[in-house]
C-alpha cells in the first residue's frame, strides 16, 4: 500500500471499523481530499524533498495487548513503576494496557486511547481535536496525519482538578510494518494542573517505517501542564513530530523534551501564548549520531500581554550527524510587557558532525524584553584538564562534561525512571 492507493474507501472503512463518530470520519475525509493540494512543511535550513513521509506498506497493524505489567518487554519495564496507577501503553497502534486511579476517575479525569475518546467523549474531543493548536490544513503532513491517524491518547483534566502523580504514556514500536500516525491531545481545563510524560520507543535496531506525530496541549485559564517526552525511535524511521501548546490567561505550559530518535527527524515544538500573563517554557535535549539529519525548531509566539517565553536547547552531535537548531521567539503586536528568552548550545564531538544554532527574534511590539544566546563548540580542554587533574581518565572526564551539558534538561523530566532511562540512552549514544 502506498499513499497513492489510499482512497476514501480505505479511510472510511477504517473509520467505521473503529466506530468513529461521523464528525471524526468527515475530518479525515476532508483532510484526505486536501492532502494533494497542500505544500510540504518547510523546516528552515533542512531540505526534506527527498525524505519519505508518504510511502508506506501498511496503515495499521494489529498487536497483542498486555494483560499485566509483567508481560511487558524489558525496554518498557525499565520505563514504568511497578505500582504505576496512571499508565497507558500502546503497542504499535493497539491500545495494549491502561490504568487510571479510581480517585482520578471520580474527579472526572479522562485518560484513554483516542478512538475510545472519540466514541465515548465525542463532544469534548470534537471541541479540542485539531481546532485550537494544530489545524489539519496547515500543510501536507498535518493533512496526512488527520486523514490517517491510527493511534494516540486523550487526556482531559476537568476544572479545578490538581493531579499530583504523573500520567504516563508509552508508545511501543515493535513491529517493522507499523507506521505511527499518533495523536496526543492533552486538555487542562481552568485552574487544573497535570504532569504528563510520554515515551516513544522502538525495540528493533532498524525499521523502514515512518512516524507522523502530532501533539496538542491546551492549557485553559490558570491551568498548568508539565509535558515530558523522550523520543527514541529506531534508525530508519523517518519522523515528523509536531508538539504544540496553546495557553489561556495566566496558564503555564512547560515542556521537557529528550529527542533521541535514531532516524532522520523533523521536530517542531511551538507554544502559542494566547492568554495574558501566560507562560511557556521549553527545555530540549538532543543527541545526533551516525549519518542522521535532524531539524529542531522551537518556537514561542507571544500574543497575550505580560507573557513569558523561555527556550533552552542543548544538543550533542557526533559522527557525521547534522542538526539544525532553530529557535524562534515571536512577539506579536499588542503583546506588551512580554519577555522572550532563548538559549541554544551545541557541543560537537567529532570533526564531521555539523550543528547550526539559529536564534531568531521577531518582534512587533515596543514595550517588551527579549534575549538570545547561542553557541556551537567543542568540549572545553580546560574543563577536561581540571577533571583529569583529579585522576579521572580522559574518556570519563568527557562523559562527565557531556552529561553535565545535557543535565539541565534531563533533570527537568518529572518521572525518575524516565529520567534514568534518558540518561542511559544518552550514555549509549555518546559513548
Amino acid at each position: 500500500m502506498t499513499i497513492e492507493t489510499i482512497d476514501k474507501g480505505i479511510v472510511s472503512s477504517f473509520s467505521k471499523e473503529m466506530s468513529e463518530p461521523v464528525w471524526f470520519e468527515e475530518l479525515r475525509l476532508k483532510a484526505l481530499a486536501e492532502f494533494e493540494e497542500l505544500p510540504m512543511p518547510k523546516p528552515d535550513k533542512t531540505k526534506i524533498d527527498k525524505w519519505n513521509f508518504t510511502n508506506f506498506n501498511q496503515h495499521t497493524v494489529k498487536s497483542e495487548a498486555f494483560t499485566s505489567l509483567a508481560d511487558l518487554p524489558d525496554e518498557v519495564k525499565a520505563l514504568v513503576d511497578a505500582g504505576s496507577q496512571n499508565l497507558y501503553i500502546q503497542r504499535n497502534q493497539t491500545p495494549a494496557y491502561l490504568t487510571l486511579s479510581d480517585e482520578l476517575k471520580k474527579q472526572g479525569v479522562i485518560f484513554t486511547d483516542i478512538f475510545t475518546a472519540a466514541r465515548e467523549h465525542g463532544d469534548l474531543l470534537k471541541k479540542y481535536y485539531m481546532t485550537q493548536a494544530i489545524n489539519a490544513d496547515e500543510h501536507r503532513l498535518t493533512a496526512l496525519h488527520a486523514a490517517l491517524v491510527n493511534g494516540g491518547i486523550f487526556l482531559y483534566v476537568p476544572k479545578n482538578v490538581q493531579i499530583t502523580e504523573p500520567i504516563q504514556a508509552v508508545f511501543l514500536h515493535d513491529n517493522n510494518e507499523a507506521n505511527l500516525f499518533n495523536h496526543v491531545l492533552v486538555v487542562a481545563d481552568d485552574n487544573s494542573s497535570v504532569t504528563y510524560v510520554e515515551n516513544y520507543i522502538s525495540t528493533m535496531e532498524t525499521s523502514n517505517t515512518l512516524a507522523n506525530i502530532l501533539t496538542e496541549v491546551i492549557a485553559n485559564t490558570n491551568a498548568r501542564v508539565q509535558y515530558g517526552a523522550v523520543d527514541n525511535l529506531a534508525k530508519g524511521v523517518t519522523t515528523y513530530v509536531n508538539r504544540r501548546g496553546v495557553t489561556g490567561r495566566d496558564s503555564r505550559i512547560e515542556w521537557a523534551l529528550g529527542l533521541m530518535n535514531e532516524g532522520n527527524t523533523i521536530s517542531e515544538n511551538t507554544t502559542n501564548l494566547l492568554g495574558d500573563g501566560s507562560y511557556g517554557d521549553t527545555k530540549t535535549v538532543v543527541v545526533g549520531r551516525g549519518e542522521q539529519i535532524q531539524n529542531f525548531t522551537t518556537k514561542v509566539v507571544h500574543f497575550g500581554k505580560h507573557t513569558e517565553g523561555y527556550i533552552l536547547k542543548h544538543g550533542v552531535m557526533k559522527d557525521s550527524a547534522t542538526s539544525i537548531f532553530n529557535g524562534i521567539g515571536k512577539i506579536e503586536h499588542g503583546a506588551s510587557k512580554s519577555n522572550a528568552e532563548q538559549e541554544s548550545r551545541v557541543l560537537m564531538l567529532s570533526e564531521k558532525a555539523r550543528g547550526d544554532a539559529n536564534p531568531i527574534l521577531l518582534i512587533d511590539e515596543d514595550d517588551v524584553t527579549a534575549g538570545h544566546a547561542a553557541s556551537v563548540g567543542r568540549v572545553d580542554p580546560t574543563q577536561l584538564y581540571y577533571l583529569m587533574s583529579r585522576g579521572i581518565p580522559k574518556a570519563e572526564a568527557e562523559r562527565l562534561v557531556i552529561h553535565g551539558f545535557l543535565a539541565p534538561v534531563v533533570n527537568q523530566l518529572p518521572i525518575e525512571k524516565v529520567k534514568q532511562q534518558l540518561t542511559e540512552v544518552i550514555e549509549r549514544k555518546v559513548r
Partner: protein, 261 residues
C-alpha cells in the same frame, strides 16, 4: 613506608614558544611543606601547571620525577593517580556535574574497578570533611564550582585535597582573594593533612598564609628560577622588607620572566 619524593631538575618550560621557566631545581619530600614566593610574573604558576601537565605548557628540557617515576611521560590523570594534586588558582566550573558525583568519580578512578568506595562511606567522609571546612552541606549537590564565590571555590579545592589524600600537593595561590576567616579554614584543612606521608608545595605572593601554615622551606622565584632558598625566617624577612634586598643581592633589576640580569 615513608612519604613520596617529588624531584624537579633543571626544568625549562615554554608557553606558546616563549620560555618561562629557565632551570628550576626543587625537591619536595613527604612530611615537608615548601613555600614558593615571589612577585607576579616570575613563573610560579607555570611551575605548578607544568608539574600537573597542563596541555598549554611545554617542557623543553629537564625532568620531573615522583619516587623515581618519570612524571613527564604521564597523562594528567595518571599524574593524579600517581599521587600528585594541584589546588588551582582558577578552578573550572562544570555545569550539570555535582560536586559529590565528581568527587566520587575521582576517588573511584584512583581505587580502580572493583574497589569502588561504598556510597555510605563516601557520604560519611564527605560530610565529615565539609563540616571540618565549615562548608554548607548543600554544596555537595551543587554543580562543580558553578556560581561558587571565590572563597567557596578555594574551600572546595581543599575539600578535594582532603578527600583525595594525595602524596604531594601543590597549592597555587590558594590564599588569593580570601578573607581572614576563610584563610584560617583553608589553612586548618592543609594543616590537618600534615604528616610524613604528605608533602606540600605552597605557591603564594603573600607571607600572610604562612602565618597559619608554617613552611619547612621557603624559596623565592625570579626570572623563571629559584633564586634563593631558606627556612621560615626567609618568609618573615620578605614580609618585613619586600623583595628588593634579594634583587640587590643578586643584581636583578626586573624580576619578571624575560628580563635577564
Amino acid at each position: 613506608m615513608a612519604g613520596s619524593t617529588l624531584t624537579i631538575k633543571d626544568l625549562h618550560v615554554a608557553i606558546d614558544g616563549k620560555e618561562i621557566l629557565k632551570g628550576v631545581n626543587l625537591e619536595v619530600k613527604g612530611g615537608e611543606i615548601h613555600a614558593i614566593m615571589g612577585p607576579n610574573g616570575t613563573g610560579k604558576s607555570t611551575l605548578s601547571a607544568a608539574i600537573m601537565g597542563h596541555p598549554k605548557y611545554e617542557v623543553t628540557s629537564g625532568s620531573i620525577t615522583l619516587d623515581g617515576q618519570n612524571v613527564l611521560e604521564m597523562e594528567v590523570d595518571e599524574r593524579a593517580r600517581a599521587g600528585l594534586f594541584l589546588a588551582m588558582q582558577y578552578p573550572s566550573e562544570i555545569t550539570g556535574v555535582t560536586n559529590a558525583d565528581f568527587l566520587r568519580s575521582a576517588i573511584n578512578s584512583r581505587l580502580g574497578e572493583g574497589n569502588e568506595i561504598s556510597l555510605m562511606k563516601f557520604i560519611r567522609k564527605m560530610d565529615e570533611k565539609m563540616e571540618f571546612l565549615e562548608m554548607d552541606l548543600d554544596m555537595a549537590q551543587r554543580y562543580l564550582n558553578e556560581g561558587f564565590s571565590g572563597g567557596e571555590k578555594k574551600r572546595n579545592e581543599i575539600l578535594q585535597l582532603m578527600m583525595l589524600e594525595p602524596k604531594i600537593a601543590i597549592l597555587d595561590e590558594i590564599d588569593s582573594g580570601l578573607d581572614i576567616d576563610a584563610l584560617k579554614v583553608v589553612s586548618k584543612g592543609v594543616n590537618s593533612m600534615r604528616g610524613e606521608d604528605f608533602g606540600c608545595l605552597i605557591i603564594t605572593h603573600y607571607q600572610r598564609l604562612l602565618n597559619y601554615i608554617t613552611p619547612d622551606y621557603v624559596h623565592v622565584m625570579m626570572q623563571g628560577r629559584v633564586v634563593k632558598s631558606g627556612g621560615p625566617e626567609l618568609a618573615q624577612r620578605l614580609e618585613a622588607e619586600g623583595y628588593d634586598w634579594i634583587k640587590k643581592e643578586l643584581g636583578i633589576e626586573d624580576e619578571t620572566v624575560g628580563q635577564e640580569a
